[in-house]
Amino acid sequence: MYRIRLEEFEGPLDLLLYFIKRDELDVFDIPIAQIADEYLEYVRVLEEVDLDSVGDFLYMAALLINIKARMLLPKQEVDEEGEPIDPRRELVERLLEYIRYKEASSFLVDLEQRRSERFTRGHASAEARKWESEAEISYDATVFDLISSLKRVLTEAPEEPSHSVVREEYTIEEQQEFILELLARERKVSFAVTMKGRSRAFIVTTFLSILELARQQRLRIALKKNDPSDFLLEYRKPPEDENDAEARSPLTNQS
């Protein structure tokens, strides 16, 4: 599993805090309308790169819009004691609570830092074990790191892998044409003979097109007796097109 983080905004609350700090906004008087718009803009970018976490951001975006709408209402909401309720209150409380734990998290970073100066017995082996499973999380990558490493891998990748594949683009439609033309000429052909020396892609696509033609009743498939490795394709007169059939080349027998 991977996560992409854009700059320092890990979660929706981080993003809000970023706006608040950047614009030196009053936590108690957040200009919701402005923030909501900016927020949505960011979510649009996020949708492009990290669909996984966009849900969390959408929830917050919806909350912001909800608050924005409630603030536009002419009639003020009041609590059971008749005191006016600021629609932003819950959001502010959440933000402040989050700030507390962000701080707590920095306490832990300090503790960890201090502890890292102290070495204990059994340190080396325990460390090594931990580091084996560590690689994934200790690397804080941004989306740009990921993209550039992808780019590098792609450019470094050998042009021709060991199983050099020249991509043969066959479509079922093309192969239907091919088979129909062949049958119009030959009337009756062996699948194995027709496919001899062809690529796998060609064979597979042709096979699929034959099934499709059979479904459309535009050819007959005859299984050879005593030989399950091959089958015969026979020309079938298109039911609605008599003239066309007569115009075709005379029947040539296959050996």
Binding site: V92, E93, L111, E112, R114, E117, R121
Partner: protein, 223 residues
């Protein structure tokens, strides 16, 4: 000649030192006293006697400028080198000990440490993001563990920190976690501008308990 009491005391010191020296994990005071009484046949020393023995050892280390001390981590005793020799050990182990936990893991761990026992939905709510990945990583690392089930709807699992967490962060117990700052205190921090702090004080003076009271008047100005 040393009194019998002194001899016993020194015996306890030696046992404590030997056990803490040889152990890979913190040694609990009760483990030390149990071992001591089982082998010597003496009465079990109390935890505070063990504590005193360890304190004497540390004084001795200090006086003789030893490069290690016995630390009371995770409710046990652990021998650890002093910070001043850290550069040599880092060199010997051939790397800097980098910050181990990513930011999201640290944040999740902080919430669990301070609010435990806590359910994942509560952690998600505080962080505003799904913390499933972080919680699983912390479980994997042994920093947290399932400590029960909440009685609320769906009986979600409750998480708490482990002794390993305490040891890794050099804490004797959860009481030793730095206090969470109160919101007022945080707002007084220079990181938040003065106006906000003033606003808060103003509201308190006016007797508003809620920090969002008076929002209606402010709305008009801000929009």
């Amino acid at each position: 000649m040393a009194s019998i009491h002194e001899l016993l005391e020194r015996g306890l010191q030696r046992v404590a030192e030997a056990l803490v020296f040889a152990a890979d994990t913190p040694v609990k005071p009760t483990e030390i006293s149990e071992v001591y009484s089982e082998v010597t046949g003496e009465d079990r020393p109390t935890d505070s006697q063990v504590e005193e023995a360890v304190a004497r050892l540390n004084i001795a280390y200090e006086e003789t400028e030893r490069s290690f001390r016995i630390e009371p981590w995770a409710d046990g005793y652990r021998m650890a080198t002093v910070s001043s020799v850290a550069p040599f050990l880092k060199c010997y182990f051939n790397r800097e000990r980098e910050q181990r936990l990513s930011r999201s893991l640290m944040e999740t761990l902080a919430i669990i440490a301070y609010r435990q026992p806590v359910t994942k939905p509560e952690v998600d709510f505080v962080r505003g993001v799904d913390s499933g990945y972080a919680v699983n990583k912390l479980l994997e690392k042994g920093m947290i563990d399932v400590v029960g089930r909440s009685e609320t709807l769906g009986r979600p699992l409750l998480y708490g920190t482990t002794e390993f967490f305490l040891e890794q962060f050099g804490l004797k117990g959860l009481k030793d976690l730095p206090d969470l700052r109160e919101i007022e205190e945080i707002l007084n921090d220079p990181a938040f501008n003065k106006e906000r702090a003033q606003l808060l004080q103003l509201q308190q003076e006016e007797g508003f308990g809620d920090f969002t009271a008076g929002g209606a008047a402010d709305d008009a100005q801000s929009t």
